[in-house]
Subunit: 349 residues, 4 copies
């Protein structure tokens, strides 16, 4: 850490900071600059930020040097992690496609969509049983019934399941029914929930908060790893900016930038990010081109009747075409993507 | 709701939307404009947004007309609500000052600060027993022990207590020890938690999320009211913007704007917003001048030794001077503020 | 336009708005909703927003229906525009690559880089002679001397030239030396400058402002078209958000979204957006995958000695490798990109 | 400046950086930390950022220590500057109120408003003759005719004039007609314009750009001072954030924060910031309470007929009441404000 003193700081104030650093277990190195003193503090980063140093007289600011995260850091583990979901591998050379409805609405709806996305090439079925909704008057999900339907869809199709958990008390229940447990954007800093999923032996998909910096996102992942669960998949899903023509702004730079900072795999959710199926294809291709390890895509066979997020859901036909268009992009970056039947030709199955 | 059709929309597409609106229980009113058709949909707002209308062929966009919140709306209850905390009234003519350390660190620390802020004029003691920290390696709070210390501080000083809850499972426990239960910014859309505090008969302080729009903030409050708890106090605590010279940007406009939209009282937290005690005084004065009903102020007797947020904590002496400086501002907007001893003169108690 | 009345609006207030609409040349259509009145106003969009309607008694808000831009709109011209730069075509099937240093520093520097980027496959040479710098103490460009050097580079290499103009008075001078005239992000709403380049018969590269919405960007382009110059190329170069780990946030969604709204071609500048050469490759690939018609890439043969923006400049070797990696991505989206020698093999020319 | 090396940096890389620092005129101080090397560079800040150091092998990042601005810095001039406008003083104990229409529309309109705001207590008349408008189809101002009307308004009322300049070529012309020359938010980084007004001997009102950091704002002011004109008044006018219920977000913290960083006076423009006259009063009071030296207020006698920004204009009666409500707030922070007749009682003059 570097302590920058004010230009007007007095000798006693500099010494006061140095003494405090020694008490904190650091070795202080004073650098007398042209205009001011700067103190380098050498030692293990045992102290947690913010320290109290900023309030000492004469101090202008404190500049941390190392990253605050450890276990998730690329510096600690140079090789990219691969998270195994059964026989699937997230972070390997194959792009993993997770597709399905925003919410589980009924067994018929779920199975119909599950069969179609499976046929098109998806490997994981997404679908919410517990839904975080901005309004208390919106459909809140089928809860346990929804979980059971996901289970049946897995049994029938062989797809892996990813579904969201909202409440620490429900972690165990949901973990019994899902292959990947999802922490949504709104819960990225729900630390009780992070700790709870950190005690599981199951992959966690951690969405980036709507206004979370990359550092905060990695710190949230650090909570999970610190509890012993290293199977974390990061998911970029758009950040909130001033732009209103799209629902949020897919931070495409975050994909390669996060991969510089951490060894964890990173996937993208272009449907939630943009809020419209019209951008799903170009943004999916962009995410793969930028290095994403997988995609979450919303698919609904009747988007205009979907109980949530219809406008951002692709029909199975469009989803199928999307996968076909992804294949050459994946190959262009030396990856593969699983592509099944062309549903746009067959008009479904 | 208004459905804006594309300029190129065909007659059949317009009719399709109208038919769908009828099925949804609306009466459609077609307006043939110069360039396009616009359809006004009349009816109770029973349908939850987003509807599936956006995905119908020919539709450009859907414009909601009414606000999505009801119980919190100023349209429903014109007169401002006053939330009673024992004999204290938040939302009345008196500005309510809540002060204390970021975290409860020890009985001695808490009691020392409690006595000082009480002497200076504060009416509520703030202090976290369960702390949401960005890093898993930071001090996470004294938990139950901290709650007991808060209790002792109340018994000794007569101050009311406000403290934060992080986990739906801990709501009951914390409610037993506190007068006002706080939902932090990170949990503003933790809907399980909102529902749980909605079942209490106790005031709730609901902080605005770091990137929450006013509408989302009010929708979060709506969750609490919808469960039966009408005693909600909103707290503006700064939003995340591009500016980095302050920790976040206190959205001062949100205070009068929220008061146009809702009948709930609104308080401000200038310390968290700015991240530095240096701005606490001007921002506190600004918040009162803009119509805030109260303030949350971080006070620590030894900021450089605080286990969290030292840089943004005022010493008791500075806090005392702040209250003195607030008094004429409160009077200028026809409010009052309770001011006690001048601690900056006595050097403490 | 739709005028939404307050729920408490009185009959006279509704009539007052209708009368005002008639005076403004609109035909008002009143829709009596369950809770409030909404008035649809039919007529040509002759009136410029904001109108004065918002301040009439009883009015809650005014919702514009059509887009405020005309000439740039995809509704007006369905087919994408192709901007010709000599024999080059921006907006056609070939991706146009513009590369070069941030600033022209010397004839030797410019010619060296020009030869290298030409050999690697670039078609346009970028380089600033007049530089907009945040600090008055920074290198401000070689001005006229720089323009002459660009001219010599064109003569020698056959590359087209793109360079920035800062001042309406310098438009003519710069236009004499360049093939494409650039309006930088800071000048996107410098309306005097926009009008001046609107009078040229020369392609204009219009960068998006750091905090400009898509609508504002298109309105800035509309200024240029309204003066008679239809040869506008839009350039997405990153927007300002809360994220600080990259210099700005490349708004990748803006590329396909702008292409829905306008017929103008769109290129991307991943170097300025991210502020580091390390992200140039993944972001360039992402931009092409998302539908960009071209790229601006900063290249410097000695980045550590560059007078500006060294950290975001690629070496010629890296630039060459980037082009090779772009080729399969361009093909994946049915585009082509011109690729020359592999400079990373030859160690330069 | 501090150069932070990568944890994996090799000895030769550290030496390379040190050698480069010496070449740049710095004395390097190496600090060997637990995990990495950090190099403190001592010397005058002659070098302009960004330096090329970031691209040297082994370098992780470069942390500047001092502020990049000099002449505007509070470190250079501790005492706050007072900008004299004739006998008026901006930055003294009196709050300076500048009021008037967004645009000069006609002589009758301007003189009517001028008389009313003068009677109410305003000291400066604002009004645009050259208007920066997002749309080329909007009213662009009366230009020279408008300047002449401002002149007549000054002659008749004795009010000082503030009006905006858009183009470097028009600086001289406008300076002949105005007492304070205004640089608008969109032109904050129009460096040609900044240099041109820097050569005047006349006060400049410099609005903060919509997405400008405080540092960038001060750097823009530095451009003006660096040309020799020290009479700069900063104006906070709202920043662009994700919040849409107000037009922009008045950054109230920027007022006291800017005053820590610079000696220049700071005024606020609450009407432009919020986009509605309804928030003008609370935000004006907040700005004064936070330490602003003055206010810009939009006043129009017929807001619903204003050619621009009607919704955010106060009627003269409301403006008069605003001044009355400001007086006790100004006194509360030991300032004064000039208050004239109560127009809300007389119904005008």
């Amino acid at each position: 850490m570097i302590v920058v003193m004010q230009t007007a700081a007095e000798k006693e104030q500099v010494e006061g900071v140095e003494q405090k650093l020694v008490e904190m277990g650091f070795a202080p190195h004073r650098i007398q600059g042209a205009g001011r003193v700067v103190i380098g503090a050498v030692g293990e980063r045992k102290v947690v930020f913010p320290t109290g140093l900023e309030v000492l007289p004469g101090v202008e600011r404190v500049v941390p040097i190392g990253a605050p995260y450890k276990l998730v850091s690329r510096e600690v583990k140079e090789k990219g992690s691969v998270v195994g979901v059964g026989d699937l591998k997230v972070g390997g050379s194959e792009i993993v496609v997770m597709a399905g409805p925003c919410a589980v609405e009924s067994e018929e709806q779920l199975l119909t969509i599950a069969r179609l996305v499976k046929a098109a090439g998806a490997q994981v079925l997404r679908g919410g049983a517990f839904k975080p909704r901005s309004s208390p008057y919106s459909f809140q999900g089928l809860e346990l019934e929804g979980l059971k339907m996901l289970n049946r869809a897995r049994e029938e199709t062989g797809l892996k399941i990813v579904t969201e958990v909202l409440n620490p008390q429900e972690v165990e229940l949901i973990a019994d029914y899902t292959d990947i447990i999802q922490i949504g954007a709104r819960n990225m800093q729900n630390f009780s929930l992070l700790r709870e999923v950190g005690r599981l032996k199951k992959p966690v998909l951690l969405k980036r908060g709507l206004a979370a910096t990359l550092e905060e996102w990695l710190m949230a992942a650090e909570y999970i790893l610190a509890e012993g669960n290293f199977q974390v998949i990061l998911c970029e899903r758009g950040i909130r900016t001033f732009e209103t023509s799209t629902r949020s702004t897919l931070d495409i730079s975050a994909i390669p930038q996060a991969k510089c900072m951490t060894h964890l795999p990173v996937v993208a959710d272009p449907c939630h990010a943009s809020g419209t199926w019209k951008l799903a294809s170009p943004l999916s291709r962009a995410a793969i081109a930028a290095g994403a390890d997988g995609l979450l895509i919303e698919v609904h066979h009747k988007p205009s009747e979907a109980l949530c997020d219809g406008p951002q859901s692709l029909t199975p036909e469009k989803f199928s075409r999307l996968l076909f268009s992804l294949q050459p992009v994946a190959e262009a970056v030396k990856r593969t993507v699983c592509v099944g039947k062309d549903l746009s030709m067959t008009g479904g199955l």
